[in-house]
Symmetry: C2
Subunit: 250 residues, 2 copies
DNA sequence: CGGGTGTTTGAATAATGTCAAACCGAGTGG
DNA sequence: CCACTCGGTTTGACATTATTCAAACACCCG
C-alpha cells in the first residue's frame, strides 16, 4: 500500500524543532542548553517507507528522534512470524536500550516516509552526565513504553480477536487525537495495512480481514486505505474493553 | 499451593542492603549519600503470599524495592481474565509509572511471602531533583522492563503454546541462574502455579497442564511443586526459539 | 478425617490458522 | 488508453490449536 506523499518535516534548528518537548530534549532550556544538543546531534535524515532505521540483531550506532512519519518496532521469531511491539508517532525517542552498544533487541521499520534527528550512540552517556535531567526525562519516556507494552500484552493475551482489533484501533485513534487538536476528528489517517494489525496482535492477515468486515457490517468502524472512521464510539469502546475514551460524536 | 517458609530478608540499614546495587539506589555512594535514602525510605514491610502490594486502579502512595520473594505484575481485562505482565525477583524497583500520582495501571501480587523497602511516592521527584543520577538509573531499569515486556509480547503473539511455555520457563531459569552463582543449578525453585504460567502466556491452566505433561514425557523438563528441572537444555532451547542459553549439563 | 487448592483427564466445542484462488486499485510500460 | 504487474484484500473450505466444562485426583494442612 502506498500513502499520499508529504514533504518531510525537518526543523532548521533545535530552536524550532516541532517535537522538542515530546522527546528527550524537553528538559533543556531554550538558550545555551539547546545549543548543546544542536552540536550533539549528528544531523537529520529522511527514509522512505519500507526502510528500516535498524534491524534486530544489528549494532546500531545512533539514536533517533522521530520528527515525522510512523515507525513500527518489531521482533522476528524463529518460526518466521513477526511481532510488532509498538507503533511510534512523531516525538518518539527511538533506540534506547539497556546495553547501549550491544546488538539491538528489536528492529524499527518505517511505515511511511520518515524523517528523524540523529544522535550518536557512543557519546550519549556523556550527554547524560552533563545533563542528568535528560536521564529523568528518559526514565519517564521509558516508563511510558513499558506501560504501553503492558497494555499490548494484555490485549494480545486476554482478549478475543475482535476486541483486540477494536482496542488497537481505538488506542491509535486517541493517540492521534491528542488534546492539542481542538477539533477532534473521528476520521483519522492510520497508515497501516491489515498485515501490520495482524502482526501487532498475534493474528493472521486473513482473520483480521474477516473481523474488520464484521465490524464494518455492524456499523462500528470502517478501516480502509489507511483511514479509520469511527462510526459507533460507545459500541466500540464496549467490545474493545476500553476505558479512557472521550470521543466527540459526528 | 504453599511454598516452604523462609525468614524474610530485611537489611538492618541501607549500608548492608542486599539489593542496593540492583535497584534504583545503585548510583548513591556508600557514605553520606546512602544516609539520604536511609532517611528517605519509609521503612520495611513484610507481606504474605497472596497479598497485593497494590491493585490496578488503586492510588498507591509508595514505591517498593523488592528485597525478598517473588512478585507478579498483572492487569485484569474486562472479561475477567488476568494477564501477568512480568515476574519480579529481588532487586526490582516496583511501582514507577509515568503519572506518578495517578491510579496504578497494573497490580502487583505477592507470589511468595515478600519483604520490601518502602519509598514515599509523593517526595520522589525531590529525591530525583537532588540526585539526578537516580533518574539515569531509573531510565536503565525502565528500559529493561520495556525489553522484557517486548520479549513477552513476542512470546505470546508469535509462538504456539508449547514454545511459549518452554520459553518462559527457560527465561526464568536464566534470570535465577545469574553469573553470580558459580555453580549453576539445572534444578531451580520457581514458585509459580500452572495458572500463573497460563495467565502470563495467554493460555488456560488446563492446556498448560497438558503441554507440561508432553514436555515431561519427552524428557525435556519437569515442572512440579514449584521446582523446575531442565532435562534437555538444547532440545528445549530449540523448541523454545531461545537464543541466550548457557546451561551446564547435569 | 475433611476441606481447600492445585493438577490431571477426557470429550465436545469454539476460535483461529492455513491454503488457495480470486479480486481490486494504483502505478508502469507499451 | 490498454494490458500488466504488484501489493493488499477478500472469500471459502478445511485443519488445527486452544478453550470450555465437568469430574476425578492428589496433596497439604488443620
Amino acid at each position: 500500500m502506498t500513502w499520499p506523499k508529504k514533504l518531510p518535516v525537518i526543523p532548521t534548528s533545535c530552536g524550532n524543532c516541532p517535537i522538542r518537548l515530546s522527546t528527550v530534549c524537553r528538559p533543556l532550556a531554550a538558550g545555551s542548553q539547546l545549543d548543546v544538543v544542536q552540536k550533539f546531534k549528528t544531523g537529520d535524515r529522511v527514509l522512505a517507507a519500507g526502510m528500516d532505521l535498524f534491524r534486530p540483531g544489528e549494532e546500531c550506532k545512533e539514536f533517533y528522534n522521530l520528527l515525522d512519519g510512523w515507525v513500527a518496532l518489531y521482533q522476528i521469531s524463529h518460526n518466521g512470524r513477526r511481532q510488532i511491539l509498538d507503533f511510534l508517532l512523531p516525538g518518539a525517542f527511538v533506540g534506547y536500550q539497556p546495553e547501549l552498544l550491544d546488538a539491538m533487541s528489536y528492529g524499527a521499520a518505517c511505515l511511511t516516509d520518515v524523517s528523524v534527528c540523529v544522535f550518536p550512540r557512543r557519546d550519549f552517556p556523556q550527554l547524560l552526565e552533563s545533563y542528568p535531567a535528560i536521564g529523568v526525562r528518559l526514565a519517564w519516556l521509558n516508563s511510558h513504553s513499558t506501560i504501553n507494552a503492558y497494555e499490548n500484552l494484555t490485549n494480545v493475551g486476554c482478549r478475543p480477536a475482535e476486541a483486540r482489533i477494536a482496542h488497537l484501533l481505538l488506542s491509535l485513534y486517541v493517540r492521534i487525537n491528542r488534546p492539542e487538536q481542538a477539533a477532534r476528528q473521528n476520521d483519522v489517517e492510520i497508515p497501516l495495512t491489515q498485515s501490520h494489525i495482524a502482526d501487532a496482535l498475534g493474528l493472521t492477515n486473513v482473520y483480521v480481514s474477516q473481523i474488520l468486515k464484521q465490524l464494518r457490517e455492524r456499523n462500528l468502524l470502517i478501516f480502509r486505505n489507511g483511514r479509520l472512521k469511527i462510526l459507533d464510539p460507545d459500541g466500540l469502546a464496549n467490545i474493545a474493553d476500553f476505558d479512557q475514551l472521550l470521543v466527540v460524536g459526528g
